[in-house]
Subunit: 485 residues, 2 copies
């Protein structure tokens, strides 16, 4: 058992009283962003991750072959959290991103129809998970009060003694880290959350959907000049909705697309031979087959893992002034609203705005060691209560969108409603706002967006009734006039 | 690391092919009963429990001081599962039990009103958890193909290799047990369930209620002759319903009662001094104070732990032919319907009736080692699908009864409805059956009981309407006749 040297605060000019220490568990997207926010507020930040450094070329390849989805859709909430650092992260990240202004629906005959995401041309942005993570880890490492420790697996948190125990996977030894508090950003299978559940009464639910997913690559077209080109419009998120299953494709900067096939696990189980697979694709995704290429399709499908999808909620997110969980550790959602990362980034922005409001600082009052920081404790309690309804709302919305994307998008009812709502939004942009717009292009708290959308549906229904009745009255009036003549 | 000698099947007459091995995790009520059922079917049964043997006097004292509730209410489902062993367990256990034929409601002025549980005098039975456990462990140990291993904590299940790894707490060494399958009866914080969740997609939810509980002892009255006597009627479950909190009391064979105070945790937090506690009890439970005794009340309240209460559901309960979870490990409920143990016992009865129907046997076919037993696998899948709706139903019912017991029991609406329903049940005992009767005094699957109760409520409502309309018509008819005269 080794006490970690990294956990001692570095000598600084303002050494006594010296900054307090925080341990961030997870150096993924949300963990790295939290490290930046913490560093800017003067905390001594130690970031631990069980995985090796993604910046090693070998690790990057392994990560690419892992189950995690490769591209993500960054939208307003995520961008706002990046902007709030004041480090120009938003601009840096947008250089890696490919804007997508709408969905491109592919029907069974290969015909394509565009559906804009926002009536004012707003876009969501396809970004590469690994590239974005590297960007954020690099940005965090610019701060001298941030240290990253990769290959460290969290074993347990001794919250009473403000300690976290890690296993150093490179040496096999245990590392005990002394820390004032812990930020758990260690994903859906969070060890921090498990530690939280041992210390306090946590309401918790996880539900798996019947669908799994498998990623396939749709390569660039190589032109005569040797320059790669996109095989489909890169500024759309492509969807092949087939009611009980679907495929989507997001563009990558190298002119390829990453396709994700979402399908019930039984269906995956049924497609076991090359012939069955090709017959299935020829039937349902005929236009995608030549673009992916038969051999690549077969290889990718049979080689790539079939991931499962889960919706996870819990409450509370904190324990006293000692631990808080953010991102997927606190709320993991199915990927159909493209809000997982955006919500995680927004967690960080909201958490720190609450910490700032409560006057939480990294400055250690001399002699305070061991006592409870009531400001931090109150701030974390406030964070749980503020954030929980929104996390629940977006988890539920993502589950709902799972039906919308694979089925509703091609129904007449849905399309008429969308047309109407979009038109009203153009006329009254501040009053009637489509739900998708509120979620992806505003920072309206998710649960309020859901409430407003429900109200709008009511208004729309009433409006339709009033219109119908008005028309009937007019017709009746005309009829009577005709009779009178 | 030691391979456990106990895991080798003992030499028997029918040695080759020899019985298959099953590992039961948890030697509590449900685990011990499962061991008996397994032993009767010829399995080589190894039972492991993390706790020491309850039959050691020292352990028994510790258990008494633990958080677990001391007495339980055994009713028809539990008794049926005991009877099905054919070992006379039901009779043995009933000798330890105190029948309770109804609730005794104590109002704020100490007045008592009885409410029978069943219109035909049916009783639920107060039994001591420890005594019942000892009875079952002793019964299981009578079988030579059952071995108990106490002080063994399950570390992990290597389900692929059909192994379970335990920590022997007496020696500190690891024990690897080879087993054909595992029955997890290790309670609400089940390690088996966690292992299941690592192997397959488990939907899971746990919800804590805002109330905690604290146990208090209401001692016997010692008569002039020195013989102890019950201070209240022992053949009722005593309830002090106070809407937002309540106290209950169950009789023990030594003429004492165990009182359990259920109250929001904040309220527990508010009662921090002797004066506050006594003022509270004098106000709400005035008749209980002299019976418990002021000093004992204060000592018990401040010494005894404040337990939390959780409702836990999951699905599925099994993994292939290798693991099944039963009892609280699969569904942990709040204690307000007195069905936790009964449901766990019924799990065992139903599980084995399904195994028997599927022709699952303990006989090893020569050379089959390592291959999947499809009969067992199908039986376990059938068990999950059969049992899940019932487990969900009783968890929800228990949660509902939490309101009924502390509040509804004293409302007019509830009392009128109960009177009506009881009367109809007397008239049509096979057709109209109160929900409480179906749950506690029949073996109707829980989810069907809930459905039938909902139908009965509909009929009752319609019946009331028809009666009201009929009466109105009669009155109207009389009125018209009067007019006619």
């Amino acid at each position: 058992m080794v006490t970690h040297p990294g956990s001692t605060p570095p000598t600084q000019l303002n050494s006594p009283p010296g900054p307090r220490r925080v341990c961030v568990v997870g150096a993924g997207l949300v963990g790295a962003l939290a490290a930046i926010y913490l560093a800017q507020r003067g905390w001594q930040v130690e970031v631990y991750d069980t995985r090796p450094d993604l910046r090693d070329p070998e690790t990057a390849t392994q990560a690419k072959n892992s189950q995690r989805s490769i591209n993500l859709a960054l939208s307003v909430r995520g961008l706002s959290a990046l902007r709030a650092t004041g480090l120009g992260l938003e601009e840096q990240v947008m250089q890696l991103a490919i804007p997508m202004r709408g969905r491109m629906i592919h029907d069974r005959w290969g015909r394509q129809t565009g559906q804009a995401y926002g009536v004012f041309g707003q876009c969501i942005n396809s970004v590469d998970r690994a590239a974005l993570t590297v960007e954020l880890v690099n940005a965090a490492e610019q701060f001298e009060n941030v240290n990253f420790h990769f290959d460290h697996t969290l074993r347990s948190c001794n919250l009473d003694d403000r300690q976290a125990v890690f296993l150093d996977r490179t040496t096999g030894s245990e590392v005990v880290v002394e820390t004032d508090w812990i930020v758990g950003a260690d994903g859906a299978y969070s060890v921090c959350r498990r530690q939280l559940m041992r210390k306090t009464r946590v309401d918790y639910s996880q539900v798996y959907i019947k669908h799994g997913y498998c990623e396939l690559t749709l390569p660039p077209i190589v032109t005569a000049s040797g320059k790669p080109q996109y095989a489909m419009d890169p500024h759309h998120l492509h969807i092949w909705p087939r009611h009980t299953f679907m495929m989507i494709a997001l563009p990558n900067p190298d002119c390829s697309f990453t396709c994700t096939l979402f399908m019930p696990f039984e269906k995956f189980g049924e497609l076991t031979t090359r012939e069955e697979l090709l017959a299935f694709f020829d039937c349902y995704f005929p236009d995608a087959v030549p673009l992916i290429g038969v051999d690549r399709l077969v290889t990718d499908y049979f080689r790539n893992p079939k991931g499962s999808l889960m919706s996870l909620k819990c409450h509370p997110y904190h324990y006293e002034d000692r631990l808080v969980i953010v991102g997927d550790a606190a709320h993991s959602m199915v990927p159909f609203y493209g809000q997982g990362m955006n919500c995680g980034f927004e967690d960080v922005e909201i958490l720190f705005s609450i910490l700032d409001q409560h006057g939480v600082t990294a400055i250690r009052t001399p002699g305070e060691k061991g006592t409870t920081d009531t400001r931090l404790q109150n701030a974390l309690a406030c964070y749980t209560e503020t954030r929980h309804p929104d996390a629940v709302a977006i988890c539920d919305l993502a589950m709902y969108n799972y039906i919308e994307m694979r089925s509703s998008v091609v129904s007449w009812r849905y399309l008429i409603r969308k047309k109407l709502e979009d038109q009203f939004h153009r006329w009254f942009p501040e009053i009637i706002i489509p739900l998708y717009t509120m979620v992806s292009f505003t920072q309206t708290p998710y649960h309020l967006a859901v409430l407003q959308a429900a109200r709008q549906t009511q208004w729309l229904k009433r409006g339709i009734w009033v219109t119908v009745l008005g028309l009937a009255a007019l017709v009746g009036f005309g009829f009577r006039k005709n009779l009178g003549r």
